[in-house]
């Protein structure tokens, strides 16, 4: 974990939205989903996930609903709203282009420009 990557707040929102975009999840499910996909490379406290969820709930990007887990525990399940989906798409496109451009510059042969 010492080599973990810090995550910007806006980026974390996108990751969480991505996690929820296939199926509603509760907080721990989101956490494990992200750990799996990142291979544990992201430097996140678990509390950051909940802050992101509440923040996006406030903005109307996700909605929470009480549901029941597979072991019959009550849990808040979060789903993406239409506004959240639109945000995810737009921001993902923007972030990818940004990464492309930055990567293009950083990986160009020295002195080529």
């Amino acid at each position: 974990m010492s080599e973990s990557l810090p995550v910007l707040r806006g980026t974390l929102d996108l990751l969480v939205l991505k996690a929820l975009s296939s199926t509603p999840m509760h907080g721990f499910e989101v956490t494990s989903w992200l750990e799996e996909r990142s291979g544990g490379a992201l430097g996140l406290e678990d509390s950051a996930i909940y802050q992101a969820l509440y923040r996006m709930e406030r903005r109307g990007w996700v909605e929470a609903e009480w549901g029941v887990t597979e072991n019959n525990r009550r849990a808040r399940y979060y789903g993406v709203t239409a506004a959240g989906r639109a945000h995810l798409e737009a921001e993902t496109a923007r972030l990818l282009r940004y990464a492309d451009v930055v990567a293009g510059i950083l990986t160009a042969a020295p002195g080529a420009a």
Partner: protein
């Protein structure tokens, strides 16, 4: 009432916060458990796994904060949603009942609109600051009389509390020639510091310089914006040009801004007041100036008055003649605004009060409509309570409905007012100060909005509380009749309608008193026969008619030509006519009747007239003779006096042959005739002393023609203009009016006040009638079953009619009784507006209740007749 509701609200909030906190705990607990399980699976001991889970979670506090932020946003959003929901629901509810909504909106629109219109006048005339720099510090100095230049200069020398004092004359007239057709202008002679004292600058060029009050350097003039645009095409190059005023060339030095209307609206030119202390008569004897001063910061008008009072002894000392003992007794200083608009204030406040009553009636009307509807909504309310709505929730919903009604009424009212304000502004009687400032300003809109919000509470609150109180024990039952609750409602509605009737009685009484006053006023004999007399002002230019002989020839020629016109039976000229501005007054000395020391000389109006004046005006000769052609300049000086004059100085005796003179001159005039009294300024003023002098012996340059004629005024006016132009093309003819118009114009203000008050009373009556109609319809509707039973038991139509009408009569009687008491008090406030009628005028106080009773019975009659058509069979089967 309120406490349990508040507690419930509080509990609700608490519960909400607990729920959120619990949810958060639960969510975190679940997370930690799952994480611990995961770590244990990975091989950690339960204790270590637990500790690691907590470590990985990080700050619970941050999560809590995020949750709190979410909750705040949610409660705001839910509040807004609730308002929108309430509003939508209210609109839907109102739409379902368009008749009710239309009646309520129209009623409110009339009330709010009328209030807005009157407020626009109050605001423009009384409230808005004068368009001068720091206007709160401007005071009118010693406003109860006019002043001489000597008094002005003495005051300026001693001004301390007053930073400075300036003077101006009111309603001077000038003839402008050499710039198109000759025209009469309204002007003002002003001290050069006037503009500085008021704190105004010229829009073009400059105002006056101190040196320009010296005789010889005073050949300058400042133009009004209106004159500049109208006569000089708004050409800035007019500054420096010469214009001819009364035959004298003056250089234009500046143009004032359009909003500068001082001392009276319509003032066209300001010329310097010349000061020559060597000319004692001019310096001390001609008393025509009004004084305005600017207070030093922190000084009060009372201090200014004290300062003026302290200057009185030195004025008295400097005057070349002894002044009466009471000279200086009337010194005061009042705010300039008070002086400019003070005499309109009472009328405006009365109208504002009246229109407030109209709004009160409108509110009572809508409130009673809402209450009547409340019974009809009992089922709805019961359902909503059953579904869990609290009383606060219902009250909020109902108040939203009221607010929406008020907003719709207010918007319509503002539209009505926009039309009404411009109608009012153009119809204000001439001479109302600051009339140009009456308009739909932002502050008027603000007033309309505030009124709208206030009315929504005023009419909505009681009905909302009543409606939201679901009847105990009758939830969801179909009908509402027969319950005790309906009768409480009916009593409340009855009270509201009685209030409406009472307010209508107050307004109708006020209007009645004013109408009676106007009629009394119209009955007053002005002292002359106004019918068939045309008047026109003629002003031969001074440069051509610079001697008395030339002026005499001009008028002799003109009168002769006018006399020769067809349809003219007689013509005369006078320096001024009754009921017009510009009467001249002078102190009289009676031969053989010396004044006690220190007493003021009697003041009389002086009219200069040609021989046929009395005959033309129809002023009766009581004694002696009128003037004749024999009263030539070289003949013995003669005078005709009024009846009151003769009676006052020779009570019971004979005035003919006695002699009088002006205090300022030595020549005695012999009284040759006594004529009937004439009202000088208007029909309400007393007749006072009057003296007539023959024109031949007392020449005046500007005269007013009076022509007795059968011709149509328009045709004669055209004839007259071309005739004067033929005699002298530089002589303007102005103010061509029928004498009847002149008299009627003197009543314009009281008539206008009466007209508005009558309109408001009519509005009150209509709204009151609608109110009575509404409540009686409601009562009949409520009692359909009772009435049906009565009819089934043998009551006939007339019995039912009588039964319903009696209830209307009881309401009306209660309202009228309360209203009469109110009217009795309110009429005292009207005392200053009454003429020939007491505030307790029996005729008015007898007529108003009758009118109100008739209106109330008529309004009850329709519902009563409907009641007689109730078919008992249908009603009873319906049960």
């Amino acid at each position: 009432m309120i406490r349990p509701g508040v507690r419930r609200l509080f509990r609700l909030l608490l519960r909400r916060r607990d729920i959120v906190a619990q949810a958060l705990e639960e969510e975190i607990r679940l997370h930690l458990e799952r994480r611990t399980e995961q770590l244990v699976r990975e091989g950690l001991s339960p204790e270590a796994a637990r500790a690691e889970a907590v470590r990985r979670f990080g700050s619970v506090e941050d999560v809590r904060r995020a949750a709190a932020a979410r909750e705040r946003r949610r409660s705001v959003r839910e509040g807004l949603d609730a308002i929108v929901r309430d509003a939508r629901f209210a609109v839907r509810t109102l739409r379902r009942n368009p008749g009710f909504a239309a009646a309520a909106i129209l009623t409110l629109a009339l009330g709010i609109g009328a209030n807005t219109v009157i407020f626009s006048a109050v605001n423009g005339i009384l409230l808005r600051p004068l368009p001068f720099a720091d206007p709160g510090r401007l005071v009118s100095v010693w406003p109860d009389r006019t002043h001489s230049k000597g008094e002005l200069l003495t005051l300026r020398e001693r001004a301390r509390v007053l930073r400075d004092v300036a003077a101006y004359s009111e309603n001077d007239e000038y003839t402008l020639t050499g710039a198109g057709a000759p025209v009469r202008l309204v002007g003002s002679q002003v001290s050069a510091n006037l503009f500085d004292v008021l704190g105004v600058r010229a829009a073009v060029g400059r105002t006056l310089l101190p040196g320009e009050s010296r005789p010889g350097s005073d050949g300058v003039v400042v133009l009004s914006h209106g004159l500049w645009v109208e006569r000089f095409g708004a050409d800035p190059a007019v500054v420096g040009r010469a214009v001819v005023l009364d035959g004298r060339s003056r250089t234009v030095v500046g143009v004032m801004p359009a909003e500068f209307r001082f001392p009276v609206p319509g003032t066209d030119v300001w010329v310097p007041l010349t000061v020559d202390a060597a000319d004692a008569i001019d310096f001390w004897g001609i008393v025509f100036l009004r004084l305005v001063g600017r207070l030093r910061p922190g000084a009060t008008p009372d201090q200014a008055a004290a300062e003026v009072r302290s200057a009185v002894p030195s004025m008295r000392e400097r005057m070349p003649w002894p002044m009466p003992d009471d000279y200086g007794a009337d010194v005061s200083a009042v705010s300039l605004r008070e002086r400019l608009v003070g005499d309109v204030r009472p009328a405006l406040l009365v109208l504002l009060g009246a229109v407030g009553f109209v709004l009160l009636i409108a509110c009572a009307n809508v409130a009673s409509l809402l209450l009547a509807r409340a019974s009809g909504r009992q089922a709805e309310m019961s359902v909503r309570v059953a579904l869990g709505a609290g009383r606060g929730r219902l009250v909020r919903q109902l108040l939203t409905e009221s607010l929406i009604l008020a907003m719709a009424g207010g918007t319509t009212g503002i539209l009505l007012a926009a039309w009404g304000v411009s109608a009012l502004a153009t119809r204000l009687p001439a001479g109302i100060p600051r009339a140009a400032e009456v308009g739909m300003h932002a502050d008027v809109l603000g007033f309309a909005l505030a009124t709208t919000l206030l009315t929504s509470l005023l009419f909505g609150f009681l009905p909302a509380l009543r409606t939201a109180r679901p009847a105990r024990g009758t939830p969801l039952r179909g009908g509402a009749h027969g319950s005790g609750r309906a009768s409480v409602h009916r009593r409340l509605i009855g009270a509201l309608v009685a209030i409406e009737i009472a307010a209508a009685v107050v307004l109708a009484t006020g209007a009645g008193l004013l109408i009676r006053s106007i009629r009394q006023l119209q009955r007053v004999n002005p002292g002359f026969r106004a019918e068939g007399v045309l008047t026109a002002q003629v002003a031969p230019p001074g440069f051509r008619y610079d001697s008395e002989t030339k002026q005499r020839t001009f008028y002799a020629d003109l009168l002769e030509r006018v006399n020769a016109l067809p349809d003219v039976s007689s013509v005369a000229a006078a320096n001024n006519i009754p009921f017009d501005e510009g009467n001249t007054y002078f102190p009289v000395v009676i031969e053989g009747q010396p004044l006690p020391r220190g007493a003021a000389a009697p003041i009389s109006v002086r009219w200069v007239v040609t021989p046929d004046y009395f005959a033309t005006m129809g002023i009766p000769l009581r004694q002696g003779r009128a003037f004749t052609a024999a009263d030539r300049p070289d003949a013995p000086p003669v005078v005709v006096v009024s009846e009151t004059f003769a009676h006052r100085f020779w009570p019971g005796g004979d005035a003919i042959g006695k002699r009088i003179r002006a205090a300022s001159a030595d020549a005695w005039w012999t009284i040759v005739g006594v004529v009937g009294d004439v009202h000088r300024d208007d029909l309400t003023s007393d007749v006072g002393l009057a003296v007539y002098r023959p024109y031949a012996q007392h020449p005046v340059r500007d005269m007013t023609l009076v022509i007795r004629t059968d011709a149509a005024p328009r045709a004669l006016a055209a004839n007259l203009r071309s005739l004067v132009a033929a005699v002298d093309e530089d002589t303007p003819v102005g103010r061509i009016r029928m004498m009847r118009q002149v008299v009627s114009a003197s009543m314009a203000r009281p008539r206008f006040t009466t007209l508005l008050l009558t309109a408001f009373a009519a509005l009150a009556l209509i709204l009151g009638a609608v109110g009575v109609y509404g409540v009686m319809s409601y009562a009949v509707h409520q009692e359909t079953r009772d009435i049906g039973i009565r009819m089934a038991l043998g009551a006939r139509a007339p019995d039912v009619l009588r039964y319903v009408l009696r209830r209307g009569a009881v309401l009306a009687a209660a309202g009228i009784a309360v209203g009469l008491a109110g009217a009795f008090a309110a009429a005292r406030l009207l005392r200053g507006f009454l003429f020939g009628v007491g505030p307790a005028d029996p005729a008015t106080f007898a007529a108003v209740p009758i009118v109100l009773a008739v209106v109330a019975l008529l309004a009850s009659y329709l519902p009563a007749r409907r009641a007689t058509r109730v078919d008992p069979a249908v009603v009873l089967r319906g049960e």
